[in-house]
Amino acid sequence: MKNKIINRRSFIKGGFGGTAATVLSLKSARAAGDFDHYPDSMGVIVDLNRCVGCRSCEAACNKEQGLPEPEKPFNDYSVFDAHESGGHGGAGRRTDETRYTVVNKYELPEIDHPLYRKSQCNHCLEPACLTSCFVNAYTKTPEGAVIYNADVCVGCRTCMIACPFYIPTFKYSSAFSPRIMKCIFCYDTRLKEGRPPACVEACPQEALTFGKRVDLLEIGRKRIRQNPGGYVNHIYGENEAGGTAWMYLSPVDFGEAGFDVHVPHEPVINFVRDFLSIVPMVLVIWPALFAGFHLLANRKEQNKHHHIDGGEE
């Protein structure tokens, strides 16, 4: 509406030339403001209703990424038991330097079967790891993956501090070639060529659906609409942390299925903007301000020096 008014007014005011200029500038301004990340980026939607906890995705990931063999084979389901999971405070297993994805089990009283939840990097649209990295080790690719470059990483681990999903992990065991270990959406081997990641391909239950993020949101909404009793009316990842490429559907409140429901619904960088915005001001204003203070504070002394013509100290 506003654009239209401006358009019309400038049309009247400036004639054809002015209008053309206004339209052009509006267009570029709109493009910048509305830039919806990478519009054709891919994603995955995980349907907790369909997952049976077979751990095929874990096995496929391990093979695809050349990760070390686990202590217990992937068909050993005792890893789901709380005392085996090793997580602190019953948090379940988590990603670490030997596994980019893990499945955890949740026994809930209101449903008759256990619920399984796969976790891995959610490949945020505005990743906290990327925005917090001071050597640009992270890249968000147009295909949707958040990839990592070990060649420039210093090992400060700020990305791990920043990630709201606790995903990046560090090779603490290595002194000479430590690095961040995290899911990269099988970017090098698959996503680049338009193929789904290994875990999605391995899933026998079609619990993981690969596609364009915009289409996945439609699919998710459709499933909720068609079976309103079977899902909570929320797609986790649609807005969490400003939106993620991997999203989830759940039959129970996401908090019960081990999700952090307090993750803010805006990109992490928004919390840092307040500080970042003062930086240029301090850089520009402080020199003049404090030089001024100096002149004011030493005015008397300057005058005195003038009179006696004495040196300092």
Binding site: H88, G89, A91, R94, T95, D96, A128, T131, S132, C133, F134, V135, N136, A137, N149, V152, C153, V154, G155, C156, R157, T158, M160, I161, A162, P164, Y166, P168, F170, K171, Y172, S173, S174, A175, P178, R179, D260, H262, V263, P264, V268, N270, F271, V272, D274, F275, L276, I278, V279, V282, L283, W286, P287, F290, A291, F293, H294, A297, N298, E301
Partner: protein
């Protein structure tokens, strides 16, 4: 050293020339004007040296272990708690306590308060060493310490807060080296260098203010990335950076009170009368500044809670812990400072300074470790992590003492300057 200083007339060295008119050589200056034997004797006689030796004997092998077997072998750093004691204490704790350099630089050079001149150099040195050892702590913690210059030259990520910290700490370190150099130049007798620095002292001071404002704040802003992980009472997207900056002001001033007090107690032979005589008055001056910074800090803390409407958290266990930190770490020393200034009681200001420095460290550890992941489990540092932290701190103290023994920091150089 105290004994030798009282026995021999020519030491402590504070001039280029011996009483007989010949020049001290650099080696003699390094040995404090003692013979090798005497120097060794005073090393052995001082019990503090034995303590340092024991700490190094335990700590240095553990540091070697860290660099050979990796961080995992000596710390409880984990994927949930990527940062441990090295950064919580060494970086986030040491940097605010080293704000004294820019505070006193500003007071003396910029505002022209020449009466603070006797402790200006101590403040600058305290700043320089604090930052330098913060970088050492960082080097122990970094996964790939040999890549420290990467953010400067290899791969730049200028939109990150840590980028700002890296650049500013690096530039500020050079600024501080330049600010401390005049005392070194006096000591070796190279006056041209001193005059060169003197001519740009105002630029250096203003650069110091800019860099300090930004990186002290940036250390706080780093904790706005884990917005959801840090307890809401400590987290404030709008105010955390200014809280860190403001607490660095009284942290730096209190630290200066502590080091000047320790110098007066243990290094009286090295201090000149100007330093010793004016110290009580200057301590009260610093105390006044610290008290003002503290009331401002409390105001910002209050604002942050009001702004984010977090009153309800104050009635939880976390809230009580938070109030305890503020009461012990800020309110009590603030009142002590105020009473001290009012009654002209420098001893009380010294007590307050010890509490206040503890308060700043406690706040940083609460932000980086205890309030971090507050909805998860608590991480307790590995004993080896504590040992490394203590070892590096001991190295810091030893370096500090080495310099104070020699350079004209606590005394004015008597020779040409």
């Amino acid at each position: 050293m105290k004994l030798f200083a009282s026995e021999k007339q020519e030491i402590p060295i504070s001039d280029h020339f011996k009483p007989d008119g010949s020049r001290w050589t650099l080696k003699e200056k390094l040995l404090l004007g003692l013979s090798f034997d005497d120097y060794r004797k005073q090393l052995v006689r001082n019990p503090l040296n034995w303590l340092i030796l024991i700490i190094f004997a335990i700590g240095v092998p553990i540091i070697v272990e860290r660099f050979v077997f990796g961080l995992g072998s000596v710390t409880h750093g984990s994927n949930d708690y990527p940062w441990g004691l090295f950064l919580a204490f060494g970086l986030f704790g040491m940097v605010p306590l080293s704000a004294s350099g820019f505070m006193l630089g500003t007071t003396v050079e910029l505002f022209g308060r020449k009466d603070f001149h006797p402790i200006e150099r101590l403040a600058l040195l305290n700043g320089l060493l604090g930052y330098f050892f913060a970088v050492i702590y960082l080097q122990v913690d970094l996964g790939m310490p040999w890549r420290l210059p990467y953010p400067m030259v290899v791969s730049l990520g200028p939109a990150a807060v840590l980028f700002l910290v890296a650049w500013h700490v690096a530039t500020y370190l050079s600024v501080q080296i330049a600010e401390v150099l005049p005392s070194f130049f006096e000591w070796i007798g190279w006056l041209k260098g001193k005059r060169m620095i003197r001519s740009m002292v105002l630029c250096l001071t203003i650069a110091g203010i800019i860099l300090s404002t930004l990186h002290q704040g940036a250390l706080g802003a780093l904790f706005t990335y884990p917005a959801g992980k840090l307890h809401p009472l400590w987290m404030s997207a709008n105010f955390l950076w200014i809280q860190f900056l403001c607490s660095a002001v009284f942290g730096g001033l209190s630290m200066l009170i502590i080091v000047s007090t320790l110098s007066k107690w243990f290094l009286a032979w090295r201090c000149d009368n100007q330093f010793l005589d004016s110290l009580d008055k200057l301590t009260l001056g610093l105390a006044k500044g610290a008290a003002f910074a503290m009331i401002t800090y409390l105001g910002i803390k209050f604002m942050a809670i009001a702004h984010d409407k977090e009153w309800v958290y104050l009635f939880t266990g976390w809230g009580q812990y938070y109030l305890l930190e503020l009461t012990i770490g800020v309110v009590i020393p603030m009142m002590l400072f105020a009473f001290a200034v009012r009654n002209g009681n420098a001893q009380m200001a010294r007590v307050a300074a010890f509490i206040s420095v503890f308060g700043v460290l406690w706040n940083r550890i609460n932000t980086a470790l205890i309030g971090f992941n507050w909805h998860m489990y608590q991480e307790i540092p590995h004993w080896k992590e504590v040992a490394i932290t203590i070892t590096i701190f001991t190295l810091y103290l030893a370096t500090y003492r080495f310099i104070l023994y020699r350079l004209p920091i606590l005394y004015a150089w008597k020779g040409e300057k």
